[in-house]
């Protein structure tokens, strides 16, 4: 027992060390609090979107919102069917992915299989620059270059049309697809390629029959992430696609996306507590849920269908 007491009394050296450990504990807690901010932000987003959206749904039925075919929240009488906005967003998603997925996949195959070190050193940073150009710049480009071009080569293209917006969103998303697919192809072990070459396959056959299947989880995840990005894309769409919330299949016409609507209403000064103010959050909640689902699906695909190589 007496030894235990001796251990319990601490000298100055040990006391200093204990002080050091207490300081250490404080720092650890501070850092943990910083990391906890991530949870606070997620909760903040969820709470603000849901609470304002609930107020909106006190006025408007959920079925009317989700399945209504007319969107005119600022008209009298107002209509709150969100389908035209969802259809507008689908325009952009389909159009941009038709551009970004094939081009991104092709660029990734070229980068990982065909490019010399020098070619790679030029193309990779160029695509990074493309990825770093702000959305609003692409909106300007769509208005001033793409739309005039489309109007020249195609009859019946409106001044604001979903096609030009889709083209620029496709170009914006392309670097993301290329970079993710490139990573996926480079993660395929060399032995798989060499095995195919040893059997006499040409490079094209290796790409199509070995690499793409082997990297399929990464490629699919890239496609889903591209969709998610296109759904959330705002400024280019707000500038080029117009403000006409209508159900149409024609990409030459003006449309409005969910993001475009949020920008249009925000640009005017909406009164706090008005139904317009609440529609922002209802549409925002829908947008948030769609992109969240996309990101979770991408994650799931990436984990679930991953080919494991040691």
């Amino acid at each position: 027992m007496s030894e235990l007491h001796e251990v319990g009394t601490i000298g100055p050296g040990l006391r200093r060390r204990r002080g050091r450990f207490l300081g250490e504990e404080g720092i650890r807690l501070g850092l943990a609090a910083a990391a906890g901010v991530a949870i606070v932000i997620t909760l903040g987003i969820a709470i603000t979107l849901i609470s304002e959206a609930l107020r909106f749904f006190a006025h408007v039925g959920l079925a009317e919102f989700l399945f209504g075919r007319k969107w005119a929240p600022t008209f009298k009488p107002p209509a709150f069917g969100v389908l035209p906005l969802v259809a507008g967003t689908l325009h952009i998603v389909v159009g941009s992915c038709l551009i970004a997925v094939p081009l991104g996949l092709g660029a990734a195959l070229w980068l990982s299989e065909y490019a010399s070190d020098r070619g790679r050193a030029i193309i990779k940073p160029t695509l990074e620059v493309l990825a770093g150009i702000p959305s609003v710049v692409f909106g300007y480009f769509a208005i001033n270059a793409i739309t005039p071009l489309l109007r020249k080569i195609m009859p019946g293209v409106d001044v604001f049309n979903s096609l030009s917006a889709s083209v620029v969103v496709g170009v914006m998303v392309l670097p993301l697809v290329a970079s993710l697919c490139d990573d996926a192809f480079r993660a395929v072990p060399r032995a798989l390629r060499e095995g195919a070459y040893a059997l006499g396959a040409t490079k094209r056959e290796v790409c199509i029959q070995v690499l793409i299947p082997a990297a399929l989880s990464g490629v699919l995840a890239a496609v889903v992430l591209a969709v998610s990005r296109a759904v959330g894309e705002t400024m280019a769409v707000a500038l080029a696609a117009g403000n006409l919330a209508q159900l149409t299949l024609d990409p030459r016409q003006s449309i409005q996306t969910m993001t475009g609507f949020i920008v249009q209403i925000s640009a005017g000064d909406v009164a706090h507590g008005s139904v317009e103010y609440q529609t922002l959050f209802a549409v925002g909640l829908l947008l948030f849920l769609i992109t969240l689902a996309m990101n979770l699906i991408a994650n799931y695909i990436f984990r679930k269908f991953r080919e494991e190589y040691e």
Binding site: L31, V37, L130, G132, V137, I262, N295
Partner: protein, 292 residues
């Protein structure tokens, strides 16, 4: 003999297909580069002559030839400075915690999932959060401070993720050596891991802030003004920013304003490119100095 000739023809066809495929892939790769070049040409031809002294030092005007960019430049610089001051310490601290301190438990994995999901949330949703939280709930109004705090929340996940990568790249031997001579976790982190990770962290911070600089959507939602004929002086002032001003000009019906928008884009891109160049230089310097 005959079957050999068939095999030869088949092989030749496969090689031809291979060559066509290579050309196709090359064209697909070039498409992105061509788009970038066309974009730059369009901007330069339309805006280069409009970037002049009166544009850089003037304030907003309803006449395109007198429109100035200064309030937007000052607004953007002020916003990004405050965004950095708020987001960088928190983001790096969170990254340090997750890499160096966090136990492998449920809470940690919840935080990690949160961070990666937040990085995928569209920018405009952060604008809605800023509108409800800063502008309304905290009554900061449609001010410079609201804008900066909103962007700080927006870039936080990016900073955390990229800083973690930089910290993870520091070799384990450095940590083990420090711990072996009796340093605590924090001493190891502060004196050895962070200095070694600093170039990588700086690079990620600059890239995250340059992304925030080009972001217009969240600022529009919290209510950046489109017509600001004065410079912001206080945190509570209403403000505009470069991408907002460019959006406003691009949305104007008069053709002349498209030229003004192009001039604004040139200024914005010059700032962005110099930020990116700084990041690349830091990365290369660090790469040449530190070898393990």
């Amino acid at each position: 003999m005959n079957s050999l000739a068939v095999a030869d023809a088949q092989l030749a066809a496969r090689h031809r297909a291979g060559r066509r495929f290579e050309v196709l892939l090359w064209l697909m790769t070039a498409a992105g580069v061509v788009m970038l070049v066309l974009l730059l040409i369009q901007i330069l031809t339309q805006g280069a002559t409009w970037v002049r002294g009166s544009f850089l030092t003037g304030v907003a005007s309803i006449r395109p030839e007198r429109a100035g960019f200064l309030p937007a430049i000052v607004g953007s610089v002020a916003i990004i400075a405050i965004t950095g001051l708020v987001a960088v310490p928190v983001g790096v601290a969170a990254a340090v915690y997750l890499e160096e301190f966090a136990p492998r438990n449920r809470l940690t994995s919840i935080i990690e999932t949160n961070v990666s999901n937040l990085a995928g949330v569209p920018a405009i949703v952060y604008g809605l959060l800023g509108l409800a939280l800063f502008v309304r709930a905290l009554s900061l109004g449609r001010s410079l401070l609201s804008g900066a705090l909103t962007l700080a929340i927006l870039v936080l996940p990016t900073i955390i993720i990229a800083s973690r990568e930089a910290i993870r790249a520091v070799p384990q031997s450095l940590r083990l050596a420090a711990l072996a001579v009796g340093a605590t976790r924090w001493q190891t982190t502060w004196h050895h891991v962070l200095p070694a990770a600093l170039p990588g962290v700086l690079t990620s911070v600059i890239l995250a802030l340059s992304r925030a600089l080009g972001e217009a959507a969240p600022l529009l939602v919290i209510g950046a003004a489109s017509y600001v004929p004065f410079l912001p002086r206080k945190l509570s002032d209403s403000f505009t920013a470069m991408p907002i001003q460019i959006y406003t000009w691009s949305a104007m019906p008069q053709a002349q304003f498209q030229n003004v928008a192009a001039a604004g884009i040139i200024v914005l891109l010059v700032v962005l490119l110099s930020m990116n160049a700084t990041a690349i230089i830091i990365r290369q310097r660090a790469g040449s100095k530190l070898k393990w």
